[in-house]
């Protein structure tokens, strides 16, 4: 034991010293890092709901952000979902209309899909297919498009990544029942909240505080790994 310590005292001492130093660095920087992540989430929410300005949290729905325009009118919801991709978990944020009946946008917050194949799910050209898709039935990735709604062109050679994104959205919007798939409780709740907002449109957003516009769309594209989208 004494011999062991005589050999290893430097390593042990350094490990202790560096451990304390790293704990200090982490404690000092953590608030800033968390704030950065929050700003990135708000920026993504503004991208997936067109016309969105103020973003607030929704009490009781931890994975949903409420998006209002500058006048405080409800423009839609940004819903976060995650699921297994080809290489690692994929996290996405997708936008819904106030009544939850259609998608308004999609960004990929985190992915480790194959560069050049699966990670094409971050590109605007692929993501824009989700705009306007109804949420009342499953989104299906297809390799040959037949012109039906709810069909998503799978990325060539990366059907697993494409399927994963569709599944993540389907799991949030639909629930299995004995009669088949039905709109999920989340959609029903959001529709209720939208109705309340219509009855008293001047009422402030429920819970949370309004967030100012923190970042530009260029920043969002940097977070989501896509090229800045061109307005069409």
């Amino acid at each position: 034991m004494v011999g062991y310590i005589r050999q290893a005292w430097l390593v042990l001492g350094l490990a202790l010293l560096f451990g304390v130093a790293l704990a200090g660095v982490d404690a000092a920087l953590k608030p800033r890092i968390l704030e950065n992540a929050r700003v990135a989430r708000i920026a993504a929410a503004q991208e997936v709901v067109p016309g969105g300005a103020a973003v607030t949290e929704v009490p009781a729905l931890p994975n949903v952000l409420r998006v209002d325009d500058a006048q405080g009118r409800l423009m839609g919801w940004a819903v976060e979902g995650s699921g297994q991709g080809y290489a690692d978990t994929i996290r996405v944020l997708f936008g819904l209309t106030p009544d939850g009946q259609a998608l308004t946008g999609l960004v990929v917050l985190y992915n480790q899909e194959t560069p050049g194949l699966g990670n094409k799910i971050t590109e605007y050209e692929w993501r824009k297919q989700f705009l306007g898709q109804p949420t009342d039935a499953e989104l299906v990735p297809v390799t040959r498009h037949s012109g039906q709604p709810r069909e998503i062109d799978a990325v060539t050679g990366a059907t697993i990544s494409s399927q994963a994104v569709c599944t993540i959205i389907n799991q949030q919007t639909l629930e299995p029942t004995p009669q088949g798939l039905a709109p999920s409780r989340l959609i029903a709740t959001l529709a209720d909240l939208a109705e309340q907002a219509q009855i008293s449109p001047d009422a402030p957003a429920p819970g949370g505080r309004a967030e100012p516009l923190p970042v530009t769309p260029d920043d969002v594209s940097a977070y989501t790994g896509s090229t800045p989208q061109k307005k069409e």
């Binding site: 430097l10 390593v11 660095v25 920087l29 560069p115 530009t216 920043d219």
Partner: protein
């Protein structure tokens, strides 16, 4: 110089070209190939690496008399890993976009052999001053290498320099007209190999041409005798 090892000035200038970590020692190829498609990313990577290099070299040099031969690599790795974590967290806090873009390559500095090489070759044997200048020179050499590779790749691949940092909306300063057909391939992984190969060839050609001039007596330098011998051999 007492023990026959180069002094601080020699160490510093050696790191820049004669012993350039990328062009001469072919070390640290992972960041060289992975993050040189934009200049901003490459410079950030080189800055983080230089920070870790200097801190690790200074600490190692301070501890050099207490190092046990069979435990030294453990001490090097521990020191390097700690400073890499500090660099990684600092980037995440103050340059979140850059941190997101560089992704896993900042934590991967831990296994960058340039740093452990400097600890082994210089810092574990020489004083703090020499170790500092050695790290600074090597860091500068690494920065020059990454900046030169990324300059070629970004200009020809995207038509800009410093996208993400300068220019309108951070899109970069446009140096080639919009009509220039950009070589997208240079931004993709194969472009890193092509650029590295061509630039390394140019550096070798320049060094050889310089040695030849020295050998012919057109250029007088301290190393003339050695260069003459080398060319003849």
């Amino acid at each position: 110089m007492a023990n026959g090892l180069p002094g601080p000035t020699t160490r510093f200038f050696n790191g820049i070209l004669p012993e350039n970590p990328v062009y001469r020692q072919i070390l640290g190829m992972c960041p060289v190939l992975a993050v040189t498609n934009t200049m901003a990313g490459a410079i950030t990577m080189a800055g983080a690496t230089a920070f870790v290099l200097i801190c690790a070299n200074v600490i190692t040099s301070l501890l050099r008399n207490a190092l046990k031969p069979h435990l030294r690599i453990l001490v090097f790795t521990l020191t390097i890993a700690s400073f890499v974590t500090i660099a990684d967290r600092t980037l995440a806090a103050f340059l979140p976009l850059m941190s997101a873009r560089l992704g896993p390559y900042i934590p991967l500095i831990i296994v960058n052999c340039i740093i452990i090489c400097r600890a082994e070759v210089c810092a574990s044997k020489q004083g703090v001053g020499t170790a500092f200048f050695d790290a600074a020179g090597t860091g500068l050499g690494f920065l020059l290498a990454l900046a030169s590779i990324s300059l070629v790749r970004e200009v020809l691949g995207n038509g800009t320099v410093l996208s993400g940092w300068a220019g309108p909306g951070g899109l970069g300063l446009r140096v080639l007209p919009e009509s220039f057909p950009t070589w997208n391939l240079l931004l993709l992984p194969p472009g890193a190999f092509f650029t590295l190969g061509v630039l390394m060839g140019l550096v070798n050609w320049y060094s050889l041409a310089r040695k030849r001039r020295v050998a012919q007596g057109n250029l007088f330098t301290v190393g003339a005798e050695a260069a003459r011998a080398e060319v003849q051999a």
